[in-house]
Amino acid sequence: MTANGTGNDLAGPLAGLRVLELTGETAQFCGKLMADLGADVIKVEPPGGQETRNIGPFMNDQTHPERSLHFWHYNTSKRGVTLDITTPGGQDVFRKLAATAGLILESYPAGYLPGLGLGYEALSASNPGLIMCSVTPFGQDGPWRDFQTSDLLHLAAGGQMASSGYDPEDVPDAPPIAPGGGNAWHIASHYAYISIMAALYHLDFTGEGQYIDVSVHESCSLTTEGAIAIYLSTGDVVRRHTGRHASPDESPKIQHATNDGGWINTTRSGSNLTTDRIKVLAEWMDTYGLAQDLLDEKYQDPAVVAQSDQHFAAVLRNFFANMPLVEAYEGGQELNFPWGAVRTMGEIMGDPHLDDRDFFVPVEHPELGKEFTYPGPAAIYNGSPWRIYRRAPLIGEHNEEILGGELGLSKTDLEMLKRSGVI
């Protein structure tokens, strides 16, 4: 068995769960998390494909709905059907499909599916174990319910931007910065996943499904660590700092330049520096002749250490300015300092530790005759492996397999649906 368990036939932990996914950017990541863990996730797209197929980057920069790397990443292991659920014919097929599902994951505007006669009440009437999870910008009610959003807008309202940015000496008058990568959707998908697993646990003991209302805004607002607790405790609002925690104080800098153009992050340098640890650090720095005064006896007094945060940061800054990144980072780690190199994808790609964990997953794209490397899992499930079962579905790729083979629609039915533009 390989480290992430892909070399054996064990089923994933969510095997046996059928999911209908009607969502784009908002919650497609939640669907991926479930699909790679063994759920049978069927992506229901409008005929012609979903709008997330137009999000870059694209393979070889070809703007094409089957070349979006964004779509590829977020839709691994899923199967795909096309269905126009705004038509009576499409709704009929969708009801049949929903009767076979354990979970419907959707992100239409509040009230949209019930308006089509496809709300939870209607779909669960004959399928009482059904769970439906709606992930929307603000939830199903409240004064902001119908506001239009985006990743940037959520990171503003959720508090991420108020905590991220620059010290004035690095960038004078800097705006709050929204971290990249679409993380408002990740955060919402994580909480959606948690709520779905809770509902499944409830189902396992009661046989009862339920409706779940997830708010992206509340999920983001929950995800700024200490900012809320600091405000509630003292009334202080945190200030933004370069590459470290926003805080009410002028905390010592922890992100330092190395002599090869890199950056190292030392966590908060004062927080783990006891008298013993200073000695360890200083002796190592001294082998480079860069310990400055850190070997001085006075740093064996905890009271002096407690007041020397800024000084330690300055000595470290000078040390790193004379060191290459990897030597600094790995040298520190070997001495048990939890430091991190600021890495880019190129540097991550060759990491042998990740290779040991079989993190780099080859995924076949048979229609292209090619294989590409995808990121693996955050966690190794030793008893029920994570795996990428297949690349993202092509538009309507599994229409026949699912609607015909599994749902039992005849060839004629399928042909009629195709001609009328329903699939």
Partner: protein, 465 residues
Amino acid sequence: MQTDRDLNSKRRKDRPLQGVRVVDFTWVRAGPWAARWLATLGAEVIKVEWPENLDMLRLNRFTVPPGVEPGPNSTGQFADTNAGKLGITVNVRHPKGLEAIKSLISVSDVVIENFSSRIMQRWGLGYEELRRLRPDVVYVSMAGFGQTGRQHYFGTMGPAAQALSGLTHLSGLPGKPPAGWGWSYLDDTGGMYGAMCALTALRHRNQTGQGQHVDLSQMITGITLTGTSFLDKSVNNRESRREGYPPGNRTVWPGAPVVHNYRGPIAAPHNAYRTLNGGYNDWCVIACLSDEEWANLVDHMGSPAWAKDARFASLSGRLEHQDEMDQGIEEWTSTLGKYDLAEKCQAAGVRAMPVQSSEDRVENDPQLRSRGMFTKVEHAKLGQWKFQSAPFRLDGSPVPVKGPPPMIGEHTANIMIDLLGTEPDDLLKGFNEGVFWPESSEPFDYVQKTLDQPLGQPLDSEATA
């Protein structure tokens, strides 16, 4: 007679994880945040601590309210991160303490910890031993680099994990140091993954009867959140260290080569703008994702002459001339309050939201207020304290805020006697011998009180909560 239906309707009032017991060895943020969600969902979470090696969040000096006596039970940050748990103090390095912990594990469903890798093994509590104690145990370990792989012993805290995962590099302005994330994003998110792993393995156990060890890595969690950058490298061989990247709040940086990265070149305007008064958090973001939304914005601004200029008519023109466009927009936004601006923009078909500080979210956000994001619960040291609610509503098994965090060692006597059947005399002996409290100090008053009163009072976790 009670029918199945009655049973079900009674059951429906319960939290979904009612009946699940979790032994929680976690500390600081990521681990405790994971177990916090298991507690909120209804599990009985028993936090195991030792007063000589305090959870760092019990010491967080920024979150002791003025007028509250500082101490391990007085920090707001610990309170919210550990809401709804029970707490015991046990010295696992003492043979009798280890024995007590083993007997607790034998009646528990989940063991969760976020120590450096293999600490649990060193204590004699590796997965093989856990499984011997409880054959279907779900064991979630949350080490920085995981338990497997040549650098498993490397340590991380949130910021270092973010740096190593590629997340830090995705945030900032071109030509400047990485801005990174202004908090331990991977402690929050690592915590969510800890909960996700436990819940997923519990579901698998329900279906198969099998437990397992889930080996989560905080640092690798971050890499999985940079998937499109990862594929841009592995498919297109394009590095993220390049001119004009990352592009701040914009989709692309003006003047830099236009590249189809995650955000762009899809939208302009797409930025943060100063609002009335120009205070530290007086900012609002505006994003026009189509020409139509841009036209709506121009109308809404009152069609100023500059905005009608042909240079701004198309997306490519707006991307090329972002600096002038943003300047024009900011002249307008500077005259309006951020909430007023966002609400009026939304009404006019323009995507806009205020940049909200912590204070804004607690005091000024009408949506969070309407949805009940903060719930006051009595806390022994902090008084009526606001706790953060779940960002989801389960209509069949609701999960309101469960209760305050445990004071350190608050439930040791109850758990040992009621749950594990320890003889009262043995418990007192353990307190004197450094098993349940350090020999170097007297137990806190509330702990002593549990020993002074008749032992064996039943423990009701919801009532305690």
